[in-house]
């Protein structure tokens, strides 16, 4: 056997070992990784133990963690539903008062979105809780927020059922098929069927019913298609302003979609760009910002068959970044760098101030714990709890917005007439 073959095999074996095993678990984690059924508070104790062993601050921010666990363990034991149990765990986690530390259950779209984002590190546990390993849920492609006990649509993914049915940001959801609205439960088992959503678009207006047909949603695919479908040209003052909404930035693929849209897609003839990073998930790498660095070179590689590939694409035209209090984590790093480098105006509301690095843990009942395992500073500055303030602050009143978007309108004004 030649040396090259031997080397190849050794390297492949190493790669596969690393790929299959990942980082070895600490003994305390290993104890929580396998399903167990010892007592009513097993899952609560798993979460409590993971925080104790893995939270980024070994002093748990000065809390008496034993006492915090004891404070909420009883509420967990007495809870009757998954939602109540999760609320007890989150009450415990909220004592830490930091982002990236939260418990999610299968009744929440965020649960599926996060499991999909963390699908690689969770790959060994996913088959236990998802038949066939497919991370999907029944949904219509919306984000919701609860304000004063009412549920409002805070985001509509372009091209998904809610969008095609005509639902808008700011709509209050009153009921689904006559029952209480549940973000996942209202659509479970109803893929392709019409579900009647009773909504109110105006605070004093009538309740209207909109039929929407849910479908199976694979979060990463949905975020990609919604990003693609969001890309459009807005004509204003004779200028062609490109718009694109990045819902999730947890992967290189989203940046590739942006680059493709700008270099060779729907936005290639735009005179300016609105880069919408409002809501959704972070996950962005700081290097994504290079696209707005005008000094870098752009290369085009041409194959003999005529295919071309662009390397190091740069956007050298005006750009505005849209933010709000749902612009979080990796997206805040981008906002920070964008503002600091003066690439363009940042329009909207201050970002979330949620910048820590998290790991995901599937607990033995299939629920999900997101846990902050690294503290983070950006250029020496800690954004956690602070966020980034836009250069042009534009508030947005969500309830009954009826699809109106003053932040987008301001960004258009900035790019079309400098207002």
């Amino acid at each position: 056997m030649c040396l090259r073959t031997l080397l190849m095999k050794a390297l492949l074996a190493y790669a596969l070992t690393v790929g299959a095993a990942g980082r070895p678990l600490l003994p305390a984690e290993a104890a929580t990784a396998e399903p167990q059924a010892k007592s009513d508070t097993d899952v609560f104790d798993e979460a409590w133990r993971l925080v104790q062993n893995r939270f980024y601050d070994r002093n748990l921010l000065g809390l008496d963690w034993e006492a915090v666990g004891n404070k909420y363990r009883g509420a967990y034991a007495e809870a009757k539903t998954d939602a109540e149990r999760s609320a007890a765990i989150n009450a415990m986690l909220d004592e830490l008062g930091v982002s990236h530390t939260h418990h999610f259950i299968k009744e929440q779209p965020a649960y599926y979105q996060l499991v999909d984002i963390f699908s690689w590190p969770l790959r060994r546990d996913i088959p236990k809780y998802f038949s066939g390993g497919a991370i999907t849920y029944s949904g219509i492609g919306i984000f919701t927020k609860t304000i004063d006990g009412k549920t409002f649509i805070s985001g509509v993914l372009a091209g998904l059922p809610a969008d095609t049915a005509g639902l808008r940001v700011g709509d209050e959801i009153i009921s689904a098929d006559g029952g209480a609205f549940e973000a996942v439960g209202s659509f479970h088992g109803k893929e392709g069927e019409a579900v009647a959503l009773a909504i109110r678009r105006d605070a004093n207006g009538p309740v209207t019913t909109i039929a929407v047909r849910p479908r199976r949603i694979k979060p990463d695919d949905a975020f990609e298609s919604a990003m693609l479908d969001s890309a459009r040209i807005i004509e204003a003052n004779g200028r062609r302003i490109g718009y694109i909404h990045v819902w999730s930035y947890a992967g290189r693929s989203y940046q590739e979609i942006l680059e493709a849209a700008l270099s060779d897609g729907k936005l290639k003839d735009a005179d300016a760009l609105i880069w919408d990073l409002r809501d959704g998930w972070g996950g962005a790498r700081p290097s994504f910002l290079r696209i707005f660095d005008p000094h870098g070179p752009t290369m085009i590689l041409s194959e003999r068959n005529g295919d071309t590939e662009m390397v190091g694409f740069r956007w050298r035209k005006p750009v505005v970044l849209l933010t709000n209090n749902g612009t979080r984590s990796g997206k805040e790093v981008l906002t920070y760098g964008f503002k600091k480098n003066g690439y363009g105006e940042v329009v909207g509301e201050p970002t979330a101030g949620a910048l820590l690095a998290a790991r995901a843990f599937l607990l033995s009942d299939g629920s999900l714990l997101i846990l902050a395992v690294n503290d983070v500073t950006v250029d020496g500055e800690r954004l956690e709890g602070k966020g980034v303030v836009p250069t042009i602050e534009v508030p947005f009143e969500l309830p009954y917005a009826a699809g109106k978007d003053p932040q987008l309108n301001r960004a258009i004004s900035v790019l079309s007439d400098g207002a």
């Binding site: 790669a15 962005a284 979080r328 984590s329 998290a358 395992v373 690294n374 983070v376």
Partner: protein
């Protein structure tokens, strides 16, 4: 890397991969990026 500090062994290994086995280096890079678990989500 700080001046005067030796390159980590992993850096030499990766350089070796890039030179002699570029496709394997690409695979290793993909694995590594997925393997970096903490996320700024």
């Amino acid at each position: 890397m700080a001046p005067g500090r030796p390159a980590p062994r992993a850096a030499y290994c990766y350089e070796f991969l890039i030179i002699f086995f570029p496709s394997l280096a690409r695979m290793a890079a993909i694995l590594f990026l997925h393997w970096r678990e903490p996320q700024f989500i």
